[in-house]
Symmetry: D2
Subunit: 351 residues, 4 copies
């Protein structure tokens, strides 16, 4: 950490900064410059709270050199974390994992039909929301526990691992019971009580980037889960909010190589929420794989016109099949492969 003093700061102000740093248990190293003095803080383990120093008289700026996250960083663990989410299905290795399904679970029939068609087209995991965070209290809020039961049936039918969102502690316990991966949505990325809670559960967590979260904040939120004891976190870029309303969000694919540089955790992309428009999902899914994503989370609906939520961004079944074929080519071009779908009727074996 570097404390930059104002131009013209007095010696006693500089001394006060040194004193506070030492009182906090670190070493202070003053560096007089041509224009102003800076004071280095040596020994920072990433846990220094700068606000006490920022508040001191004569301080112009505090510059963080060490990142505030620890366990999620590549410096903590150089090799990639590979998160095992079901027998034979892992995220973070060489395989690109395709997670597909409808936005919401709407009925037993709908989710089983969807599961079959995404499995047949090449998906490895099934997505589908039973608890839906909707900006309006009057929108469809999901089937809740019943939706989870339908997802479990779909898994039994198809062998697909199940990824589904939890919005609170009670929901997280249910998802842990019925599903394979607990998704924390973008709006809850900084719901620290919930992060701590899923950090104590023994299930992988899929953590989506918040709409205006920096990559640093995404990693800090993952740190909450790891610090609570759960090392199995998959990050997900799903678009951020900007000034342009031509798409619902702006998919930040550069986040993929950035995260891979800073952290050992796997990162996937969600081009469906990232664009919000069906015919942009395919090129952006291709782009995500070309950028190095460990997987793709994509909305597919057996009948998008009948979807209870997000119909406009859900792929038609035949579009999804085409997408998987294109992803296989792209993955091959960079020396990777799309993870294989589970075998036809291995469901029994898995359960």
């Amino acid at each position: 950490m570097l404390v930059v003093m104002r131009h013209g700061a007095s010696q006693s102000e500089i001394d006060a900064v040194v004193a506070v740093i030492e009182e906090m248990g670190y070493e202070a190293r003053p560096m007089p410059g041509a224009q102003r003095t800076a004071v280095g803080l040596v020994g920072n383990d990433g846990r220094v709270d700068a606000s006490r120093i920022e508040a001191l008289s004569g301080v112009a700026q505090v510059i963080h050199v060490t990142q505030p996250y620890k366990q999620v960083s590549r410096e903590w663990r150089p090799e990639n974390t590979v998160v095992k989410i079901a027998p034979g299905v892992s995220v973070g290795g060489n395989d690109v994992v395709v997670i597909a399904g409808p936005c919401s679970v709407e009925s037993e029939d709908q989710i089983i039909t969807a599961a079959r068609l995404v499995r047949d087209a090449g998906a490895t995991c099934l997505r589908g929301g039973a608890f839906k965070p909707r900006s309006s209290p009057y929108s469809f809020q999901g089937l809740g526990r019943r939706g989870l039961e339908f997802l479990a049936l779909a898994r039994q039918e198809t062998g697909l691992a199940v990824v589904t969102e939890a919005m609170d502690e009670e929901g997280a316990e249910l998802v842990a019971e019925y599903g394979d991966v607990i998704q924390i949505g973008a709006r809850n990325m900084q719901n620290y009580s919930l992060l701590r809670f899923v950090g104590k559960l023994d299930k992988p967590v899929l953590l989506k980037r918040g709409l205006a979260a920096t990559i640093g904040e995404l990693l800090l939120s993952a740190e909450y889960v790891l610090a609570a004891g759960n090392p199995n976190v998959i990050l997900c870029e799903r678009g951020v909010r900007t000034f342009d309303t031509v798409t619902r969000n702006m998919l930040d694919l550069t986040a993929i190589p950035i995260v891979q540089g800073l952290s050992h955790l796997p990162i996937i992309a969600d081009p469906s929420h990232g664009t919000g428009v069906r015919d942009k999902v395919i090129p952006m899914a291709r782009a995500a794989v070309a950028a190095g994503a460990h997987g793709i989370l994509v909305e597919v609906h057996p009948n998008p016109e009948r979807a209870l939520s997000d119909g406009a961004q859900s792929l038609y079944p035949e579009q999804f099949a085409q997408l998987v074929r294109e992803l296989r080519s792209i993955a091959g071009a960079i020396g990777r492969r799309v993870a294989p779908a589970p075998e036809g009727s291995t469901a029994a074996a898995r359960v």
Copy 2:
């Protein structure tokens, strides 16, 4: 709602849109134009889910004419809501309410000292966090229940109403027990489970705008609380995230007249989090009152250099006293007044 068809959409595509609208129980009104056809949906009560229509073939865009929120809108209730938060203290009327205190409750001594000094300088309510949402799991997370007990003592000592944050359901119940207003922080603005929960409690809710939340989304989050049965919501502008890092956030004061046009709920401003820099807090607090805010939420610490959090944006006691004097002048200039602080030792009477 207006459904705009693509240039060159076929008659059967238009007919399909009409059919879906009618199947949803509304009236469809096609309008052929020079360049393209639009179809109006008549009878929308604000609850129409557009995604089903967006998904139809030939649809270019769906334009929302009716706002999706209902109970929070001025059209629902033309006169201002005045939220009573303690005997003699209301937000939403002609008085400008000053809520002040430290970022975190750190000790019994600290909060009682802070409460006395903000009361003496003219505050009406005391703020102070017992549960702290921190981006790093390694930062100080607050004293929890013990912090609430200290706040209750400070209220008894000073007569100030207590505003403090809850981060989850358990915390919300405790805040409702010990405090006067349950604050929902910016990071939880779209934690819908929590919003529904505080909507069932019998305490006013102070709802802070999320870092990248539109005003429409802020109002929709308030709608969750009202829809669950609690009409006493105070909105709070606290700065949004933008491209400029010269301040921590960008305080969006235009939100004040915008909210007052769209909604009957009171809106206050938090210039401390909105700027993050102590010497910008005073001009921005003045500006908020000049823009018509119903109140101000401001961080004051007896000893900012010793603060465990947010020291850099906490006012010194003498700065706060000066601020209240300036706010009185500004409020007077626009025909309002700063709400009076509680009497010296009315504490007994209040409890």
Copy 3:
């Protein structure tokens, strides 16, 4: 400048950084830390180009301690610059200057009517565009030179100083001939050729902040004008672009105290473009003055429904008169005053 090395950078990488810094003529000061080494660059006069160092192997980050602007900074000149724009009219002192008029000059009659009514209501300067930067090539582009002639007539009639925009070098010369202040619009804030050109003219420059310009970039653009020889620059906050489309832009009033801390140049606010909505202009103009702005730039049209551009944000004459009255109260509350309008027929004396 501080060069932060990657965790695990080798000694030879550190040595290379030191060598480049010394080759560039500065002193290098390596600082080994617990986690990584940093190298300070001492003697930076604000002109160091960091990219050469950023490109070196083993460098994680380059942190700028010294601001890249010089002549515009408070460190260069501690006292406020007061820009004299016409006899008896200055911006940057204790007076709050009100600059008002229509978006575009539309006719001789329109601008003279507008000038009279804003003068009578208390304005000090007249605004009105003869050259209009419009996002569409098919929108009204202004009357050009004829518009400037009408502005000069309006000045003669009313004694108001004239502020008007130039979009290119030819236009800047014309504005310098007919007007009192050359306005550089937000879209041209980083048109460096134009900035250099007006830096060589002997007329004050009103420089508007770009839609996504940081405050640092605004100051650097002003530095272009000062570096070319023209010290008379007035900065103008006019709203930035964010994710919320409820207003056209987000007026960043915190920019006012921020600029006043970093620079000696005066700063005014434009609540008309900053909000884009007529009934938000009045509260935001009040807020700007409460925040400490040296002036206000506001659109007023004799007949907004007939305006050829920006009708929706132009005040009605009676609204403007009310605004000036409110600004007088607010200015008084903070120890300032609204600059007086020129006397009835001092026009002859001025020319």
Copy 4:
């Protein structure tokens, strides 16, 4: 265009809107709704100025259905525009064009070395700035005309077409004389005087998206060039500004399929400025091609550590060679190919 009236607007307010629309020469079609009335404007040719209507009493909102651009839209011209920039080199067809070279032309030797190495690695065009828009007036501003002469020499040596930036009218004429494509930089995207000027020249224009420009605004700026008579415009996504400072800009790759849906003009991507970090350039260039870009603009320097500008984002020669190999695989995977580099010594033939 749809004019939405306020809830409770009077019949005379509605009549006034109808009258103004008819006075403007269009047909008005009032549509009373359950909550409020809307008035459709029929016959809009994309040139209607809404501000006059927005200013009318009782109007809540004006919604644009027709896009304001015309000649750049797909509706105007359904087939792709293929811009021929040199004999045998076109942008907008099936080939992916690789434009590479240093940020700035620094010397004859540097640019000729760079040209040879990018040609040998597979580039089709050479980039290199002779006029540099720098945020600080004290940074290296380019070699000017001499830089253009060196570029012309490099073209003669290598057969590569030359793409270089102009910042003003004088520069544009020089670039048209020495180069093959006139680049308009992000900061000048809304410099309408310059756009009109290059619209009258007979050279292709490469128009970069502004840092906070919407895609709609980018298309409108291109419309300025087409409306002035020059149909040969290549658009370029180069990253936009957001809240996250981990990269210099956020590369918005979704802009590629979006632009391709709305317009017939070709669009390429600049991952060097789009990320600002060398080791993110390669994955993002791959992603751009996977998303469907017609080309790539990438910075390569013979010796990045010695670069006078943007060294940190310039690829090393061997990295560039690897990138071209990867792009060939990706392009092949989606049925396209990377445009071939010019033959060894076809230079004479070309000039």
